[in-house]
Amino acid sequence: MESNLHFADQTLGYALYNQQINLIELQCIKQKISAMARMTFDLPFDSLYNKPCLLKLGLDDIRVCIPANTIQIKNAHELGIRQLKIYFDPSRQDKSLLINALNQAKKLRMSVTLAALNISGFSLHVVSLFQKLCQDYFFNRLIIEDNENRLDPLTTYSAINNLQQILAVELEYHCRNTRGLATGNVFGAIKSGIRYVAGSIGGIGGYPAVEEVLMSAKYLLHEPLVVPRNLAFSCKEILGRMGESIPATKPIIGSRIFAHESGIHVDGIMKKSELYEPFSPETVGLSRMIVIGKHSGKAAIEEKLKELNISINPSYVPQVLEKVRELSVRQKGPVTDAQFPKLVREATL
């Protein structure tokens, strides 16, 4: 049975706010992201209100982020918007604002997700407020957000479990990656039973990286997810259209995460790739590369000789290795395929 894990995509909203990207590009980005997993796209209402052509992006899977304001909700409805993410701060705003907003949305038959609960720190008073709201008003889900970034995976899991005992509404989890824990925290949320989580491609905008959450949920939590075989390429294309690049060692999709140089590792990979790779490069549409440099061992030299169709007496391999090390230290970089044959000739003189 296929997984019902669902992402609230933040990439498109980030692209809208931060980049000069035209509608066609946005449509392309949206289409590519939709192909990766079940997606709903969170977009800010003011962007759509100011640029109604963006409505052509298609509203079926767009959720519009709007404050608890009856006039803006009415305006959203007039534009054809039907899915809302209403944000509300119970520590600063009066609950009557929220109640009016929920009533307005209900009257207009709009679907509502409420973004209101700061999981990093909430009072019992706020929790009782939401308990009552859940009973009296219908909204699809309540977003819990780690606004102060104080939680880690274990405390995220406990906090969500506690809330699930008290609140009779489905929860959705959002967080940011300010401390390098986002993927781990989302992992904790999914483990606690949450099915809707926020993310962005490549972690852009400081959100949990969709590709990291997808792969860790599939391989480490055994969610029945289908990971697209062109995941790395797709992410590169999406971010490329936004003028962004992927760091070479970005987990899951970086171009060099299957580049191996260390002698022990290359020797191991040649024997059995599972020794040093948690998943095959083909899983995400990348390729393995053997880099020849300071850390190389005999196995890498032998592999490179085979790859470049160079035949030598095996007893010369240690000399080739020595030349490789000397050159790579001298040039502070790996030995290229162009340089390798000449090194071999020198070593075998």
Partner: protein
């Protein structure tokens, strides 16, 4: 609880494919790691040759405060080379998962225990402090890991590194595993993880939450494949945890990060 930071930027960090630090860069990084207050610096692998030995000897001559450690495979040659280079702190690594033992070493568990014991004994006989390293521990049989730790303890090792070599741990499994192992392991455990799923910092933090007192990191999380646990991220999270301190001076970290970042840039290649 003090969590000791074991930095392996100069060893595992430099194993990031295509990366080379010059001797001067290694020295500068080591000095700045010292200023930042790390507990230990895993400086490199003397068995890699004369250039590496030259760079490492230069670091040793500084008599820095942290332990300055040479990484070794479990064989006499590696260890002798490290001692000849001037090291008195020796890390000895051996694979402990059946997968690695069978397919990489093509040996047996019994061979691993004997080889490891002999290597540790040899290093100790030369007057060295020894630190054990269990490669691919996250996929090893837990009882065998404990057996390896027992042997290491018997030979005078001071701690054992639990290496998640392929980055396949997740925080809950890490926590559960470490909670059990910390209670029954003959040696203090040092957690060493990789970032293949983007979980390195989370796993290191989970290990500390389970009682682990040594964390292996690299500056900026550089290292094999998607890298290691980031020193800055781990120290940042631990600084917010009540009752935990690392001894790291956060004011030193931006400069350290800058130095490492510059050292990671390639030079224009010279013509042969």
């Amino acid at each position: 609880m003090k969590v000791n930071i074991v930095d392996t930027t100069l060893r595992d960090g430099e194993q990031s494919a295509g990366l080379i630090f010059t001797a001067a860069e290694k020295l500068s990084i080591a000095k700045n790691l010292d200023k930042a207050g790390v507990f230990a610096i895993e400086a490199g692998i003397p068995a890699m040759g004369k250039d590496e030995q030259f760079a490492l000897a230069s670091i040793l001559s500084q008599k820095l405060t942290p332990q300055v450690i040479a990484w070794n495979r479990a064989n006499i040659n590696d260890i002798q080379t490290s001692v000849d280079c001037g090291f008195s702190c020796i890390h000895i690594s051996i694979p402990v998962s059946d997968l690695h033992i069978q397919y990489k070493l093509k040996k047996s568990r019994e061979w691993v225990l004997k080889q490891f014991g002999d290597s540790l004994a040899y290093a100790r006989s030369l007057g060295c402090r020894v630190f054990a390293g269990a490669e691919d521990a996250s996929r090893a049989d837990a009882q065998f890991f404990l057996q390896v730790a027992e042997i290491a303890a018997g030979m005078g090792a001071e701690r054992i590194r639990f290496a998640d070599t392929i980055g396949c741990l997740e925080p809950f499994k890490t926590y559960e595993m470490m909670q059990r192992l910390v209670k029954s392991c003959a040696l203090p455990i040092e957690i060493h993880v990789h970032n293949d799923f983007g979980l390195a910092t989370a796993n290191t933090v989970a290990a500390v939450q389970a009682g682990v007192t040594l964390a292996s990191v690299t500056v900026g999380g550089i290292g094999e494949r998607a890298g290691n646990a980031s020193l800055q991220e781990v120290v940042g999270v631990l600084a917010d945890m009540p009752g935990i301190y690392t001894g790291i001076n956060p004011a030193r970290l931006p400069e350290l990060a800058n130095i490492v970042s510059n050292a990671c840039k390639p030079r224009m290649s010279q013509a042969l």
